[in-house]
């Protein structure tokens, strides 16, 4: 934990030139606070929110919890993802939230199911694969929830996600199929693209393009 704060000045050609100091110490995972997260959340800036939640990576901060908890239901995926990442580092809440997300995935509220899928994806633990797979096959959930479940399987990247993604590749909604193609190539040790091949002739141009790319990806 050395802190280098060496400052120096050099004189060059008769001109005072400010130089050298040290590269500002790493700020990642440092300097966060509930106040800063709250201010960032109020600003509505995704960049600011993500930066401040990241900065509070390991901050022991009770006051942060309700603020970050609210971000799990943010409209933007990037914010939900970083909020879940923050909770992934907190033992007690991580377990509670994973249980809640699993319940939400089995429920009928598509927004909650979407949020639950995003949280489990961000946790990256393969124990969530059965719940995510189950959600993908449910036509009663809105496409955004099924899409989130497919995305989460890609985030986890475990080859056991294959079955769920195979289902998602046949989803009635093109956005789900597209996400499933993108997730498929993230499955570790899965090198074949057989279930994706059919989508090369998909009705949706975006899906066709992605499928063609996935088939050609080693």
């Amino acid at each position: 934990m050395r802190t280098h704060l060496r400052l120096a000045t050099i004189i060059s050609a008769g001109v005072a030139t400010v130089v050298l100091g040290l590269a500002a110490p790493a700020s990642a995972g440092r300097g966060g606070s509930a106040t800063k997260i709250e201010a960032a959340a109020r600003s509505g800036s995704v960049d600011a929110i993500v930066a401040e939640v990241e900065r509070a990576e390991r901050l022991t901060c009770d006051a942060c919890t309700p603020i970050v908890m609210e971000l799990l239901d943010h409209d933007r995926y990037e914010v939900r993802e970083v909020a879940a990442w923050w909770f992934a580092r907190r033992a007690k809440l991580r377990v509670e939230l994973a249980e809640r997300a699993t319940t939400d995935l089995a429920g009928t509220d598509s927004r909650l199911a979407r949020n639950g899928a995003d949280l489990l994806g961000a946790f990256m633990h393969p124990a969530a694969i059965p719940a995510l797979t189950g959600a993908i096959g449910r036509a009663d959930l809105a496409p955004e929830a099924r899409l989130a479940a497919a995305r989460a399987l890609g985030m986890i990247g475990h080859p056991n996600g294959r079955a769920g993604l195979t289902t998602a590749l046949g989803d009635a909604d093109a956005s789900v199929r597209l996400e499933a193609v993108n997730a498929w190539i993230r499955l570790r040790t899965v090198t074949d693209a057989a279930p994706v091949v059919a989508l090369v002739a998909d009705a949706d141009a975006r899906v066709r393009a992605a499928a063609a790319g996935a088939v050609g990806t080693p």
Binding site: S12, L20, R58, T65, R89, M124, G157, A209, A210, T217
Partner: protein
């Protein structure tokens, strides 16, 4: 490095012209017929400085002729290129060496994204015809920041992995798929991807000597910053250029462009919240010399001689909001090479900080200006209020740099990389007495992309796999063959297996590449002197450190000194604790198990932890906000982060002792207590690391084996992580 280069072209030519005189009405763009620049739809979401996927439709490349406020603006690309370009966003571009405005000639290569569901690909715009061709890049991956290289090649950054079948590295902290470098032929064929860093590499730029400078995110332990690196165009021979070893002035440097040999203009800024913009820095890699008004800095280039001049002293170097009339700069292009250069810049006024802008419902408004860095005066050139005007440069031919031939390859297995030092005792970062280093431990790095659930154990280190130890010879040399394209870092170790220095950066090499250093972060301005002839390490042949073992096979076979690669806490260490420690160290308060308490003065809530080397999950904190510790033993030894506790205004009562200093076994209390035995060249249980000190386990009659000591040393030196490849859920 001292080569006089003819490719400095425009900036130096203009500087020379300026030095020869000119009237008061002349300006730095007087000799420029046209400038070309990029227009993007304003946004308040770029991500941190390493992010590249930001997308808003409406990007275009335009030309301003003449480059004056009343010049004619002409769109070069891409509304006329077809319907599929209607929603394109353009991230970056480069001009071919022969590109010119009148008559139109040459090409522009650019990185474009046709719609939100696609990746960034590469395109060529033919200036003469206006035709656009898409290069055949992998549609499932992004290709960004293209740069023309001499010899009809294009260098780019991409999130495609060079290792077939292996996922691209994801930075453990920022989580994005990292960008790395690649090269292809001008027609998109012959794609070659470079060796990987564990974090991003962004914003490459070509130098007049034909090399490539870029920003690399160095992230290992406490190191977390964007430094400038320089490499050959074949992506070999990567070297540090600026920002490391206390030469910098801020956290990160990006969008560098050469002013003159050894001298660059770059943006200096914090890692996030600044819309990838910041202050203007005149970075000099060596000692400055002046000739006919041209100031260059390619003499004795080394980090020791490097310096930076802040050209915009009022612009924040951190992430704080900038103020009115100060703003922040998105990029800069040098128009001359004077001591204080004239610059073509993109600048936005006011608060260029994402949070403040977001709260106001605004975006930064980047427009084009000419900046006189001596007078600190900015003159407006062009500003479309509905677009960002960025990355401007003269549309004029320039001389191509010389082609640097491909680096030679080593004489061993061409699927491997040869690494080593001529004399490990020559170091600018540590004092290493002759004979103090037994060997150099080589550690492979990886991150969550391999299936580790989100963290490796709450220290700041990433995944580690020990490839092996290459012995240091009596002349100080060492050499090893390691897997190609794999990020590694080095630890010179003593006979007890403990690191005497922990190199804080990752590096990697291509297949067949030889990456030999003078020493261990040797003084870069001095020659490394070795005995005549070949080093002993090469004479005897390099150690082969899992050089051809596939990634999936780079796991521990046994948890012994010989077989340990990763040190999964629950598999490799917990059995030791269970067998030899927990009979005493079991969470029962007492002399063997000191306690500490965290309390929150505001609420009165508290949490008490008692030293416990048993397994099973554990957590710490106050109230709901409990941080995780993978196991009781991990929490007891590696402990909570004191800094974070202090920042949270929590009070610690009792004996909170951190027994493992991540990345530093030698400095860890655990090692001082256990006093590990000699491991190399052979085990000697009677020769202990800390002379005259007790050896806790031995003295209590529960002596650890040499292998067990070594596993604990490895754990500490490699960051005190809980997870390794061996205990990933996959």
């Amino acid at each position: 490095m001292n080569r006089i280069n003819s490719g400095i072209a425009l900036s130096v030519a203009l500087a020379a012209a300026a030095a020869c005189g000119g009237d008061d009405s002349s300006g730095p763009l007087d000799r420029v017929d046209s400038i070309v620049f990029l227009q993007r739809t304003p946004r308040n979401e770029m991500g941190d400085i390493f992010q590249y996927r930001s997308y808003r439709p409406g990007g275009r490349i335009v030309k301003l002729s003449p480059p004056t406020a009343d010049g004619k603006l002409e769109e070069l690309c891409c509304s006329g290129a077809g319907a599929e370009f209607a929603d394109i966003d353009i991230q970056n571009y480069d001009l071919s060496f022969d590109a010119q405005a009148t008559p139109p000639k040459g090409e522009i290569v650019f990185s474009g994204r046709l719609n939100e569901s696609q990746s960034y690909g590469l395109f060529i715009l033919h200036l003469e015809t206006g035709a656009v061709e898409q290069l055949p890049t992998d549609p499932m991956h992004d290709y960004t920041s293209p740069v023309f290289l001499p010899g009809d090649k294009i260098l780019f950054t991409t999130n495609k992995s060079v290792e077939e079948g292996a996922p691209q590295h994801r930075d453990e902290y920022e989580r994005g798929e990292t960008l790395q470098v690649g090269v292809m032929n001008r027609d998109g064929t012959g794609e070659v991807l470079g060796p990987r860093n564990l974090s991003h590499r962004v914003f490459p730029t070509l130098t007049s000597e034909g090399r490539v400078l870029m920003t690399q995110w160095d992230h290992l332990g406490m190191m977390n910053a964007g430094h400038l690196m320089i490499m050959n165009p074949d992506m070999t021979t990567l070297r540090e250029a600026f920002g490391k070893e206390s030469t910098g002035v801020t956290n990160s440097y990006l969008k560098a462009r050469e002013i003159s040999p050894g001298r660059f203009i770059a943006i200096g800024t914090a890692r996030d919240r600044t819309i990838q913009s910041g202050a203007l820095l005149d970075i000099r890699l060596g000692l400055p010399t002046t000739d006919k008004g041209v100031v260059r800095a390619d003499t004795e280039m080394s980090e020791a001689n490097a310096s930076a001049r802040i050209l915009t002293p009022d612009v924040p170097l951190g992430r704080e909001p900038s103020s009115n009339t100060i703003g922040r700069y998105y990029d800069a292009f040098p128009l001359d090479a004077a001591d204080y250069p004239q610059l073509l810049v993109s600048w936005a006024d006011g608060t260029v900080e994402s949070g403040t802008l977001g709260a106001a419902g605004m975006s930064a408004q980047f427009g084009l200006y000419v900046y006189d860095s001596k007078a600190k005066a900015r003159r407006p050139l062009y500003d479309d209020p509905d677009r960002w005007d960025i990355l401007a440069r003269p549309l004029a031919p320039r001389q191509a740099p010389p082609q640097i031939p491909a680096s030679g390859t080593h004489q061993y297995d061409q699927d491997t990389t040869l690494i080593g030092s001529m004399d490990v005792y020559q170091s600018s970062v540590a004092t290493l007495p002759a004979g103090s280093v037994f060997g150099v431990r080589v550690i492979e790095g990886f991150s969550t992309e391999e299936g580790i659930p989100r963290d490796f154990g709450l220290t700041e280190h990433e995944g580690a796999a020990v490839l092996g130890v290459a012995p240091v010879q009596s002349d100080g040399s060492w050499a090893a063959l390691v897997p190609a394209n794999v990020p590694v870092h080095l630890q010179p170790i003593d006979v007890f297996g403990m690191a005497v220095v922990n190199e804080p950066v990752w590096f990697s090499g291509a297949k067949g590449e030889s990456r030999f250093c003078g020493g261990c972060h040797e003084n870069r301005s001095a020659a490394t002197v070795i005995q005549p002839g070949v080093t002993q390490a090469i004479g005897r042949g390099p150690s082969t450190l899992l050089a051809t073992t596939p990634r999936s096979g780079r796991k521990s076979t046994t948890f012994t000194k010989a077989g340990a690669i990763g040190v999964p806490w629950d598999q490799a260490l917990q059995p030791i604790f269970d067998a030899k420690c927990v009979s005493c160290h079991n969470g029962t308060p007492g002399p063997a198990n000191p306690s500490w308490t965290i309390s929150d003065p505001a609420t009165g809530a508290s949490f008490t932890w008692t030293f416990d080397l048993r397994g099973g999950p554990a957590s710490y904190g106050v109230g709901d906000e409990m941080l995780s510790a993978p196991s009781a033993s991990h929490l007891s030894l590696v402990g909570p982060s004191m800094r974070d506790l202090e920042r949270a205004d929590l009070v610690v009562v009792g004996d909170l002792k951190i027994y493992v200093e991540p990345g530093d076994a030698h400095g860890s209390e655990l090692m001082k207590v256990l006093n590990p035995p000699q491991q190399f060249p052979s085990v000697d249980m009677n020769h202990r690391a800390f002379t005259g000190m007790p050896a806790h386990a031995r003295d209590l009659g529960v002596e650890l084996t040499a292998d067990e000591y070594y596993l604990l040393v490895l754990m500490a030196d490699n960051g005190g992580q809980f997870y390794s490849r061996e205990n990933a859920p996959l």
